[in-house]
């Protein structure tokens, strides 16, 4: 006869095996993507990587969202957006809180810095944005102020900047000027160039690499590009991990474990068959290169603005076998 301890041990091993099986069943990387809905560009959505749990996170807040940034290990989302009741388009920086979705977004800039093009929020809540004067910084302690103070980090008189991105340690900022990737040391204000032919920089979670879409061919119809990684060093070597003739790729974003990069794929080819049709959309690829896997399959159109959330609020892990709140919600909205 088996002792109660033996029975418990068997039960423990069985549970362990079930747990391992449950996690290994999920082939695509875990975590959730926060994105601007590709059709209703006023809405912020959240989904597992496949897209089967896609649901609204914030809706009817804006008229159109131009850019999106999700705080690492935090609850804030930053949106560069146009408000609903404006007659002429004008983009400000808005702060949203995932924990308090019913609260109105806080307008951080409120027209005080001209139209905003891009913004990013660091792990500790510092906000940078591209305004009329250049790159500006709102320190985290200012976020609760009625009119948060902003200081100029880089003057527009010397730089013509397209995109900005915090390094994970919040000590550096990556930015793009005329397809060149630069790094700015926030403390010393020193700047150095990392690479040419770069767009849309995204730091890996450990800060050791920057994903970019790199310009490969400047065709008149479309600039062909590839997804590449580059270390954050002066004049570093760019390693292309995915590129295809007649294709361009947009907005790389890293998985929270730093193993994958998600991006959007576009082509100027005339789509003639289902195989070609499925080369456009959103994909994920191992950061070391490999075969792209389609993601956000339920979205019907290319998601252009998205970030991988390392900390999902409201829902449990999508890798579990149990049905989560998010899945139930998604089923209800089918």
């Amino acid at each position: 006869m088996r002792s109660p301890f033996q029975a418990r041990r068997s039960l423990f091993y069985f549970s362990l095996m079930l747990f391992i099986a449950a996690y290994s069943l999920n082939a695509l990387p875990a975590g959730e993507l926060i994105f601007v809905h590709p059709v209703n560009r006023a809405e912020i959505w959240i989904s597992n990587v496949e897209g089967t749990t896609a649901r609204k996170l914030f809706s009817k807040v804006f008229f159109e969202i131009l850019n999106l940034s999700v705080q690492d290990e935090g609850e804030y989302i930053l949106a560069v957006a146009d408000e609903i009741d404006r007659i002429f388009p004008f983009y400000d920086v808005f702060l949203l809180n995932q924990r308090f979705r019913d609260r109105s977004p806080k307008n951080l800039t409120d027209g005080r810095f001209g139209a905003i093009h891009d913004a990013d929020i660091s792990k500790n809540g510092d906000v940078i944005f591209l305004g009329q004067q250049g790159v500006l910084l709102i320190k985290n302690h200012e976020l609760n102020q009625r009119h948060p103070e902003a200081e100029i980090l880089l003057d527009i008189a010397t730089w013509d900047i397209d995109a900005i991105e915090w390094a994970p340690d919040s000590k550096q900022i990556a930015f793009i000027e005329f397809n060149r990737l630069f790094l700015l040391d926030v403390a010393t204000k020193e700047v150095f160039q990392v690479a040419d032919n770069a767009n849309n920089p995204a730091f890996s979670p450990n800060g050791k690499q920057i994903a970019i879409d790199t310009v490969i061919e400047r065709n008149p119809n479309m600039w062909e590009s590839g997804i590449a990684v580059v270390p954050p060093h002066p004049n570093a070597d760019v390693k292309i991990i995915h590129a295809k003739k007649n294709y361009s790729y947009g907005r790389p974003t890293w998985s929270p474990d730093g193993k994958y990069i998600a991006y959007s794929s576009h082509t100027n080819l005339e789509i003639k068959n289902i195989k070609q049709f499925r080369t456009i959309g959103n994909f994920v690829i191992p950061a070391t290169g490999g075969n792209p896997e389609p993601i956000l399959l339920t979205m019907k159109d290319n998601v252009l603005l998205f970030e991988w959330a390392d900390k999902a609020y409201l829902v449990a892990s999508t890798a579990s076998l149990v049905t989560t709140w998010g899945k139930l919600k998604a089923q209800q909205t089918d």
């Binding site: 059709v39 209703n40 897209g51 009817k60 789509i271 003639k272 068959n273 289902i274 049709f277 339920t298």
Partner: protein, 343 residues
């Protein structure tokens, strides 16, 4: 004084009667149609009798339905549809997709089966076993083929679709045996066995093939070029199946108006169809049946304002189409006007 057990028995009977009543009222009645009204205000998926009486909305998706198919037994409604602007002013869903509606779970709303993962769904049909076939084209012009979503996949978040046929295919219809499908393309009408995937040509012309309820005949649409060569007149044709013998043809239009929604009446005696046009920019449909025995045409659905561009009968039954009404309605006047113009 009534005995305690007698009281309990009565109570049980009462509950039983109530239960039966609940179930019988939840099933869809025969002689009804499911349709999408052309009216913008009424848009959605509705059910009513063939005279529009007892009309009630089943679903209210922000979709414009192009094709509709109902599973035998009425559990599922399958629609090929595209998104329309929502009431809040935001855009609807993109593209042409296949959507499933479960009449037993109306609160669940629509289930998007294809999710934009195919380019443009042209037609779809659901078998009595709940298997879905659909045709797809790429970029509005390049042929793709025919896909099958099995009945156990339709509830999955991302239903898997198996390609049954690669090539040109537009309109598709399940055979009543649930093993074969008939489809049309510019080369004619073809039969596809879903198990062996073997394809054979039924007839070298025609489009929109539909099986008769007993599966012994096929109805389809043929086109005759107008004298000026600028358009086509339509005829409905019927041929025996599986051995196509003489093709019977019935004139249905003397105009080049678009003819759609070919479907057999539940008793298999007539074929119903819609002629669609847009007088003064407002789309409307004129609905008719044509008898397969003597070619007599009869207007139907005249009580529906602007007619029905897409509909399907509910349960199979032996009843015919309701006869003409004594009252003349707005839609009836429209039909009369059209009839006069045809003459």
């Amino acid at each position: 004084m009534t005995h305690f057990f007698e009281n309990s028995r009565k109570r049980v009977y009462l509950y039983l009667a109530f239960l039966l009543w609940t179930f019988t009222t939840n099933t869809l009645c025969a002689q009804e149609i499911i349709y999408q009204p052309l009216s913008r205000i009424q848009r959605g998926i509705w059910i009513s009798d063939t005279d529009g009486r007892d009309a009630r909305q089943l679903f209210n998706p922000p979709l414009f339905v192009y094709e509709m198919s109902i599973q035998k037994g009425d559990r599922y409604i399958l629609c090929v549809a595209e998104g329309v602007a929502r009431e809040d002013g935001l855009l609807g869903e993109l593209g042409m997709d296949a959507y499933l509606f479960d009449t037993q779970q109306p609160h669940k709303g629509r289930k998007d089966l294809t999710l934009g993962r195919f380019d443009r769904i042209v037609d779809a049909d659901i078998s009595k076993n709940g298997e879905v076939v659909f045709t797809n084209i790429i970029n509005e012009q390049f042929p793709d083929g025919i896909y099958l979503i099995s009945s156990h996949e339709i509830h999955q978040p991302l239903p898997k679709a198996e390609k049954l046929f690669s090539g040109s295919a537009r309109y598709v219809d399940w055979a009543p045996n649930g093993e074969e499908i008939v489809f049309s393309n510019p080369e004619g009408i073809f039969l596809l066995n879903v198990f062996t995937k073997q394809v054979s040509q039924v007839i070298p012309y025609g489009s929109r093939p539909v099986f008769s309820p007993n599966g012994t005949q096929l109805a389809f649409l043929t086109n005759t070029p107008t004298p000026d060569g600028q358009g086509h007149f339509h005829k409905i044709a019927v041929v025996s199946f599986p051995t196509p013998a003489e093709v019977k043809k019935f004139d249905v239009t003397k105009t080049t108006s678009y003819c759609s929604c070919l479907t057999w009446t539940p008793n298999g005696g007539s074929i119903a169809y819609a002629i669609n046009h847009s007088p003064e920019g407002h789309p409307e449909s004129l609905n008719w049946t044509v008898s397969v025995t003597n070619g007599t045409r009869q207007p139907i659905f005249r009580k529906f304002e602007r007619g029905l561009h897409v509909w399907e009968w509910t349960q199979q039954n032996d009843s015919g189409i309701p006869s003409d009404l004594l009252t003349t309605t707005w839609a009836g006047l429209k039909v009369q006007t059209y009839e006069r113009s045809e003459k």
